[in-house]
Chain length 184, copies 2
Amino acid sequence: MKTWKIISETDVSPSPWFPIQKHTIELPNGTLIDDYYITTLGNVAMVLPITTDNEIVMVKQYKHGIKEVVIELPAGFQQNGKSIEDSALAELEEETGIKTSLDKLIPIGKIANVPTKSSQISFGFLATGVTFNSTQNLDINEDIEIIKRTPTETLKMIQNGEIWVADTVAFIMKAYLMFPELFK
Amino acid sequence: MKTWKIISETDVSPSPWFPIQKHTIELPNGTLIDDYYITTLGNVAMVLPITTDNEIVMVKQYKHGIKEVVIELPAGFQQNGKSIEDSALAELEEETGIKTSLDKLIPIGKIANVPTKSSQISFGFLATGVTFNSTQNLDINEDIEIIKRTPTETLKMIQNGEIWVADTVAFIMKAYLMFPELFK
């Protein structure tokens, strides 16, 4: 299947906080489209941490895009000059106080969040046998509650809609398919 | 947990195709933030169709946000003046040639795609016992290949990363948790 050809691109971002590119495109059938808009919001590093007590650690916080408090896996934008793995470790420690190491991160794949309109990809990692061995380090404007649930309870929360953010649901369920023994 | 208060909002959309709002926010601790940006891209209606031959019907197409060809459930933006259910029926028929009816749609919940930066929510519906009883109706610029896989094969494609778009993964896995008998 053929992809689209970018003839030209212009930065039309209203702010560095929401980067937008305007593309002129040539479709495989030769048609020109002179106004296709995508956002180049950064990629996301996300961790599914399971403690030595067999609990999945999640974070509950207000998200202003949907104006609701949601429960998600610890995550954040890939940090400047850091690999996606180092960003995952840093976000996990900052949001939850769990410090782990590169050799404990098991990749569980990547997820495209809004492929029609956004280049953003979330990269997921599993980290088992973790403990609260460090301290949370939140911005003064961050308000995060730690949520701990067994793997079985976590699946129920997805089933009943209590956990409903796309990449969080996708990575928990990928881990379930890849490592079913963790969810028994 | 407290939510944020919107003090003012301004439309800073670079185009109607990518609506962006700039908000001035008051945080629960009293701090003012005068430049929080979110997109108000429309909500999405998505259908997980299972045929009388026990195959899940998906669509394979190029998505310019990530510049790749991906396999997703049939879906589209909620259509003007239509309910989310009617939009689901219309998108399913246009993209796959499967016509079904409101009484066949089983809601399988909602999914927030990028809750930090976007108001967009995907609404999922299961439709079993469907057939290719109508005709695809694509825009001249649309190029869609129909993909049919058994439920078991579909789970494998999620596990191995062949299906990796967030809301598609989330709704297939929600259906799996809610109706495991369909995946045997």
